[in-house]
Symmetry: C3
Subunit: 204 residues, 3 copies
């Protein structure tokens, strides 16, 4: 995939994830600055973690006006339209799922481009995908979405492994769409169908 | 600004921030070791995050007795005098504001000295200023101060942008004092006057 | 100590810490994927923090199947035997103590091997030892074990200082066992005897 395409997907993913963070901030009753802060951390957190892990200093989010503005634009959209979006949980989860499916692929590709193998690139995609959401949930004192019974980390891992293989083998780019789409479809199906995984014995 | 001046301000900032962490630990009813732990994390956390982000390995806080001892001295002062300081919230917030105004400036200067531009240096100053407080609040399960309605991140950003510009342009050093003072005055005014920012519609 | 010995201890420590994370996940009522996620983060978190701090990119946990599988094996053991282990706190704390005593030593040795002095190596050992537990407790919204009145960070620091000195001076390897054993005995004694440290005045 070209740099321009990756960069575009990164901006879209940041915008989407930042919207989820901004919506959580609205639910918490935070003011406009709190909304912007949580949007920035949620939108940029996964990518910053990724860059720290591969030693890309300073993280690209610190050097790019575009990344910052994408996150702030998401905060502005949520702030001005929150009356219509309301304070429900569902839009947060859907946005999170879209961001997840974008970032698992871009994170894995960035890993391969940095010279990493399939395993570390896949894990890098996973961290990129789940990092912003973990920070959002820890800061806002929510149960981390990565713990939820609905399958979450597994579709992200499948998407990032797929993307890492496609990037390593230099297979055609549309397969990245397949990887991302698989992650998204899986996650949404788990959410909407209420799939649940087995629990340990003795658990209520 | 000379290295010695930056180093002095760093030590003062670490001491001040560590005091805020130690006071939070006293409020939580932690013992003397819990107080030292939270003082160390609060005092050193922002600088460690800064060094990780610019790839300065290991972080300077790991190589300096002075940094460690500044944080531990703060814990000792709080431990021995907590009967007088009491367990109120206000001293924590005032100390946090002073630390914020020092670290936004030193963090931005360190960014410029590491060869970064104005944008990344400013964001580095912001992370240095808010990092320790975020870690303190997450660990002690408080609402992150960075979310609070009183303006917090914005004065820190104004201070760090100011310091980054002054350092990049090599303007006279007293302007760093202006940048830091602006951040402090703004933050304290927001706190004491109860300024509040607009909230999203539908928020109580 | 040889690379092979360090690597073996790392795998054991990851397995043990991951078990503590998996047990916390069972207590929270998480499903099998939540258990795996918390096991991975608890088992690998300290080492990832260590590698980020010394600039070893990407972290070794990202490049090693063995590390991942050690953590996942711990999750599998807990998942299949949780009926017998139950949902009590004590096994979590004992496992945490064993992981602590292993990681303070391996972390400090890795610091010395990376060319660091005694002070930074000791702090690196401390971060390696307490990092995974902090992440586990923050994500699962528990009071961070590092705050607890029972002595926790101090034995870890004693173990890592001991290991850093032994590694720097190239003293005989069995002294690493002494350092690790001191940490473990101290921590377990503090736990089982209910040692407690002084609190600040005004604290209940």
């Amino acid at each position: 995939m070209t740099q321009a395409a990756i960069s575009t997907l990164e901006h879209v993913g940041i915008f989407i994830f930042a919207m989820s963070g901004a919506l959580v901030a609205v639910r918490l009753g935070l003011d406009v600055f709190g909304i912007a802060v949580l949007a920035l951390i949620t939108g940029l957190g996964g990518g910053v973690a990724r860059d720290v892990l591969i030693g890309d200093n300073p993280p690209v989010a610190f050097e790019s006006w575009g990344y910052l503005l994408s996150a702030l634009a998401a905060a502005a959209v949520v702030f001005t339209s929150s009356g219509r979006i309301g304070r429900r949980e569902r839009p947060i989860l859907v946005l999170d799922a879209i961001g997840l499916s974008l970032f698992c692929v871009t994170g894995a590709i960035i890993g391969v481009d940095a010279g990493l193998g399939v395993l570390p690139s896949s894990l890098l995609g996973l961290v990129t995908a789940v990092g912003g959401g973990i920070m959002r949930d820890v800061l806002s004192n929510r149960v981390p979405i990565i713990f939820e019974g609905d399958l979450y980390a597994v579709p992200a891992l499948v998407g990032s492994v797929g993307a890492a293989v496609v990037a390593t083998q230099e297979w055609p780019s549309f397969l990245f769409v397949v990887a991302s789409g698989t992650c998204l479809a899986w996650r949404l199906a788990a959410m909407f169908r209420g799939w649940s995984a087995p629990r340990a014995r003795g658990t209520i």
